[in-house]
């Protein structure tokens, strides 16, 4: 548990990397479950032709969030993790 807390601390390289990967896994799972179809709710249409359901809206919000996470947030987190790792290496070698 302590190890988990340490590695997943948000402001560490490992923590950021872990979050980027976990978010991407979620994206892949819901993408293969076909939740992309629910993005039609964005233009106000219901994917089934019936009135919009709360679960449908949940699927759309989850898909769009994880999509943005995968394409926007995860790469930034990975790059930040890389930059942080480099800066740690440099400061360690100097000290």
């Amino acid at each position: 548990m302590k190890r988990w807390n340490r590695t997943s601390a948000f402001f560490s390289s490992k923590g950021m990397l872990l979050r980027a990967i976990l978010g991407s896994i979620v994206f892949f799972i819901i993408h293969f479950l076909g939740w992309r179809e629910y993005t039609t709710i964005l233009c106000g249409s219901a994917p089934t032709g019936e009135a919009l359901s709360t679960f449908g809206i949940f699927k759309m919000v989850t898909y769009v969030s994880s999509y943005l996470w995968f394409w926007v947030m995860a790469p930034i987190l990975i790059l930040t993790a890389g930059l942080l790792w480099i800066s740690n290496k440099i400061s360690n070698s100097q000290s």
């Binding site: 179809e37 233009c43 106000g44 926007v72 930040t80």
Partner: protein, 400 residues
């Protein structure tokens, strides 16, 4: 203190990482415009987009599912989806003459289905519910939204190949529309009770023009008069753009908006190319925007804010991205051969439109049938209007 310093440092790195990544995102989604629009024929991706809609019209249950998705929200979308699809197919037939028969079959299926629904379910079937709130002011009590677009579909079909039943139907609608427009001091007819929309009136004028090209040309004077009235009364002074809606008497309801002006400029190409091009240029200045080459369109000019309506679609705050305006910007960019803007719009759609490609078909997840039909039209638009213009030119040559 050390922790705070670390947090600030990480945020700084996060900002640097974002500055590196975000401009790269555009390159990942940038599309090759030749995959979507070519001068030589129908581009591969566009073929897939068309394929889906054509297959849906062959399969009753698929078509009904697609349409019912939209009718839950807006009955107009069902109708406009038909118009844009028919116009797309007519352009595609001009690009691929060997497949004209196939396209004509689908066009006729859409037109017949639309006419039958209108006959069976009445004029309100394709209108939003508020149309019932009051009476149309014109004697005919008809909507030019319906008559104009049906006449446009019939005209597009007849430009490919004459069909007598459609000729009669089109001529009947044109007579009705002109009579209705002449009842208004500003020569505009109602789309909804005492609501004249630029979108619908320009579509009607385009159909009247096509009727003239295919017929005897008896409405030339009316079209010219209509243009004069439009230019004299409905240009918003700050932007130079046309107003979107007004009363039968010409009182302005709504200022310029993207969901009207892009398509209106395209329709005006048939009657006044120079004026149409000016409207497109001004609309682009006022409404077209891009962030890192992701193109989009605003619904309203910065200098003229007006109320939101269902045609505007969802508008994302701050950047003021409008789904309705961005979709129709495709049509205008295609119609005015603005490949640079079209590519930017396509790049945005590739990222935020959630394309779904399977079984040799393409659709956009964040869109619906009308959205996909509008995109399709933006990617094939051009040859039909060219054909109309060349027929008109030939006609005058013969007269001279």
């Amino acid at each position: 203190m050390k922790k705070i310093k670390k947090v600030i440092f990480v945020f700084l790195l996060f900002f640097i990482a974002g500055s590196i990544w975000l401009p790269c995102l555009n390159f990942l989604f940038k599309v090759d415009i030749n995959s979507y629009r070519t001068k030589e024929g129908i581009a591969p991706k566009t073929q897939l987009l068309a394929q889906r809609q054509m297959r849906n019209w062959e399969n009753y249950s698929k078509k009904e599912k697609d349409i019912s998705k939209m009718r839950v929200v807006n009955a107009e979308w069902d109708f406009m989806g038909r118009t844009f699809f028919v116009l797309s197919l007519a352009n595609m037939a001009c690009m691929e003459p060997s497949k004209t028969e196939e396209y004509l079959n689908t066009i006729d299926r859409v037109i017949d289905d639309t006419l039958e629904l209108e006959k069976k379910k009445g004029k309100y079937y394709f209108l939003m519910d508020y149309a019932r709130d009051s009476e149309f002011l014109s004697k005919q009590k008809r909507s030019i939204f319906i008559d104009g677009e049906i006449a446009l579909m019939l005209g597009a079909r007849r430009l490919l190949e004459e069909k007598q039943t459609y000729k009669k139907e089109m001529e009947k609608r044109i007579t009705l529309m002109i009579s209705q427009m002449k009842q208004s001091p500003v020569l505009s007819a109602e789309s909804y009770p005492d609501e004249c929309w630029l979108f619908c009136n320009t579509a009607a004028i385009a159909s009247i023009k096509i009727g003239d090209i295919l017929g005897t040309g008896e409405n030339v004077e009316f079209i010219n008069e209509w243009l004069e009235v439009l230019k004299a009364n409905f240009i918003e002074p700050k932007t130079g753009l046309l107003y979107s809606s007004y009363s039968v008497d010409g009182n302005i309801y709504q200022g310029p908006e993207g969901s009207s002006i892009w398509f209106a400029a395209h329709c005006l190409q048939l009657v006044d190319e120079v004026f149409a091009r000016t409207q497109y240029r001004l609309a682009k200045e006022e409404l077209a925007r891009h962030v890192m080459d992701f193109g989009y369109a605003k619904e309203w000019p910065s200098s003229y804010k007006t109320g939101s309506d269902v045609d505007s679609g969802p508008v994302i705050p701050f950047l003021e991205i409008s789904a309705g305006s961005s979709g129709l910007a495709f049509v205008a960019a295609g119609a005015f051969d603005d490949d640079i803007y079209l590519q930017k719009l396509l790049t945005a759609v590739q990222f935020a439109g959630f394309p779904i490609e399977k079984n040799g078909e393409l659709k956009y997840g964040a869109s619906n049938q009308v959205g996909d039909a509008v995109l399709l039209y933006g990617l094939v638009v051009g040859p039909l209007w060219e054909k109309a213009k060349s027929l008109e030119a030939n006609k005058y040559e013969k007269v001279e």
